[in-house]
């Protein structure tokens, strides 16, 4: 009943292939970083650092100050998280701890649908419906503002935020809840004084992953923020047009000559984005790994 030798060869080949595929993801990450460096690093030789981290981004005049773009991204992203965090955590708590079964069955697929809506569709909706609303409410000259972008971004990061926060709440042992209730606390008190604090680090992870998602978002942001590369330093910046790093790449890459300084500079922004999201995700991943080892999450 021995196997014919040829069959084992097929199996050997398949298993070798599976191993290669298993390691391929590492290769892809390296490849991505490598090509960003290849196209982006020349910027640091072509453009003086003072210019590169200056306050004005006017590529036509050889001004490549990335500061307004970085701050623009920061403003939109942080505002988005400020909006999304309370909404997301409250929704996660509602779904996990309070909602009756039918509400949960209704909410979960809705949130999944939100995660599935393409960025460009949300951007389009933001342009045609939200922006006019913002303009009327503010009486501003345009509704394409940092705030409009933040609002859309908040909703785009909600699915990630809610599902990770839900997992965190889920991982809190039932005995904590029982102990809270047994001491005479109401369910409400137990949730806020026991369950949510116990899930705190998981919620932090959720915020980080949401942040990572938000900072890299491109199309929706580009379509609704008005794309003015100005330093958002005044108090009313939130309600003025702004331009993010992602939008800059997307809007300008189509028009630059390959190999030009401008072209390299756009890749340099890509490097900055790559590193930022890498660090954010690394931090989030480390908390998840630690949890796993302690048997907290799952």
């Amino acid at each position: 009943m021995n196997q014919p030798q040829r069959f084992r060869w097929a199996e050997f080949t398949i298993e070798a292939l599976i191993r290669v595929l298993g390691f391929s993801t590492i290769g892809f990450v390296l490849l991505i970083f490598l090509f960003l460096l290849r196209e982006g690093l020349p910027t640091f030789f072509e453009v003086p650092l003072g210019n590169l981290f200056g306050t004005r981004w006017y590529p036509t005049f050889d001004l490549f100050g990335t500061l307004p773009l970085i701050l623009g991204s920061a403003l939109v992203t942080l505002t988005a998280i400020v909006i999304a965090l309370p909404l997301g955590v409250a929704t996660a708590v509602f779904v996990r701890e309070v909602a009756p079964g039918w509400a949960r069955e209704l909410l979960k697929p809705m949130i999944e649908v939100l995660a599935g809506i393409p960025s460009v569709v949300l951007g389009f909706f933001g342009m045609t419906v939200i922006a006019p609303l913002v303009r009327q409410t503010l009486g501003a000259p345009t509704g394409l503002t940092a705030f409009t972008g933040a609002l859309i971004l908040a909703y785009m990061s909600l699915p990630t935020l809610i599902s990770v926060a839900e997992d965190a709440l889920d991982a809190v042992p039932k005995s904590y809840r029982d102990a809270g209730l047994a001491m005479g606390a109401t369910q409400w008190q137990t949730i806020w004084r026991v369950v949510v604090p116990a899930a705190r680090s998981g919620i932090v992870t959720a915020v980080m992953l949401g942040l990572g998602r938000a900072i890299g978002e491109t199309m929706a942001v580009m379509m609704v923020t008005g794309n003015a590369a100005r330093l958002p330093l005044t108090l009313d910046s939130l309600f003025r047009p702004v331009r993010t790093m992602t939008a800059t790449i997307a809007a300008e890459m189509g028009e630059v000559a390959q190999g030009s300084v401008h072209y390299h500079a756009l890749f340099a922004i890509g490097i900055i984005l790559f590193l930022m999201t890498f660090l954010i995700n690394l931090a989030a991943a480390l908390t998840i790994f630690q949890k796993r080892r302690r048997g907290g999450l799952r």
Binding site: R19, F23, Q189, M219
Partner: protein, 281 residues
């Protein structure tokens, strides 16, 4: 104040938050469906665009998106499922395995526009594929990998470990156990993951901006090295780059894209839930 009253108010506030999350979703979908329906007719779906895209149909964009999805699937399915099989069935808990997991998390977090840059640098320029369906599909495939790998790995891991032991005890090699027992059992879960990944790819704009998308190309692509229009990019173009575009055409395009993506979403959900109900363990 009565603390049960506080609880009531608190719960009401939570429910309100959930409403604030959900109502805009319904609003987005409702608006696009209602306004987009008016544009949808046979010509819109099957004709070439005319008059600077202001009239006619969006066939090349629809076909382009479908072709890109097929191209993405051709690359992402074998690589993603293979990677998932490695992680679930072969990998031991070493630093190398942890590096792979870290790479997957990192891939999932890379901004879509950075994928676009990467695709431009590697596939379009370095490998000389040009702006083409091949370059776009490869870029989208790598972006899709983390979704496919993590869902497929989860599906594989949910197959009870005992099946593998039994298969081994009956003289099956590890691969025979995977092929005969584990893969068939995990298949519905894997398919769900693949659909979720492709759905993401089909809706993305930024990665195809510089790798494949044609601004205006009123014909069907002739070869994998041809450019093509695509739904998401088309929607971007007609809503920001072309002045005087009739709103109806914009909403119609948005609706077609939304319908495509959401129907894939529904299919994935249906497969997942029937699978959960039917499985024998």
């Amino acid at each position: 104040m009565n603390r049960y009253l506080v609880q009531r108010a608190g719960f009401a506030l939570l429910a309100l938050a959930a409403l604030v999350v959900v109502v805009p979703i319904l609003l987005v979908i409702g608006t696009i469906v209602v306004r987009g329906m008016r544009a949808i007719n046979w010509e819109f779906l099957t004709a070439m665009p005319r008059d600077g895209m202001k009239a006619g149909g969006i066939l090349p964009a629809i076909v382009g998106t479908l072709l890109l999805s097929v191209g993405t699937a051709l690359v992402a399915i074998p690589v993603g499922v293979g990677g998932a099989i490695y992680l679930s069935e072969y990998a031991r808990d070493t630093w190398l395995t942890r590096a792979i997991r870290l790479a997957i998390i990192n891939l999932a977090g890379i901004p879509s526009v950075v994928y676009g840059l990467f695709g431009l640098g590697l596939f379009v320029l370095f490998l000389h594929f040009g702006t083409s369906i091949v370059a776009g599909s490869l870029t989208l495939a790598i972006m899709t990998l983390p979704i496919i790998i993590s869902t497929a790995e989860e599906a594989l891991r949910s197959v009870p470990v005992e099946f593998r032991t039994v298969s081994a005890s009956l003289g099956g090699t590890r691969w025979q156990g995977i092929r005969n027992i584990v893969l068939p059992q995990a298949l519905p879960g894997i398919i769900t993951g693949v659909i979720l990944g492709l759905l993401r790819a089909a809706g993305e704009t930024a990665p195809i901006l510089f790798t494949v998308a044609a601004f205006y190309l009123p014909r069907l692509p002739r070869s994998p090295l041809d450019q093509t229009m695509a739904l998401p990019y088309h929607l971007y173009v007609i809503s920001t780059q072309v002045p005087g575009m009739p709103a109806q055409v914009q909403y119609g395009t948005a609706l077609v894209l939304l319908a495509l993506v959401l129907s894939m979403n529904v299919v994935a959900t249906v497969i997942r839930s029937t699978f959960r109900r039917r499985r024998q363990w």
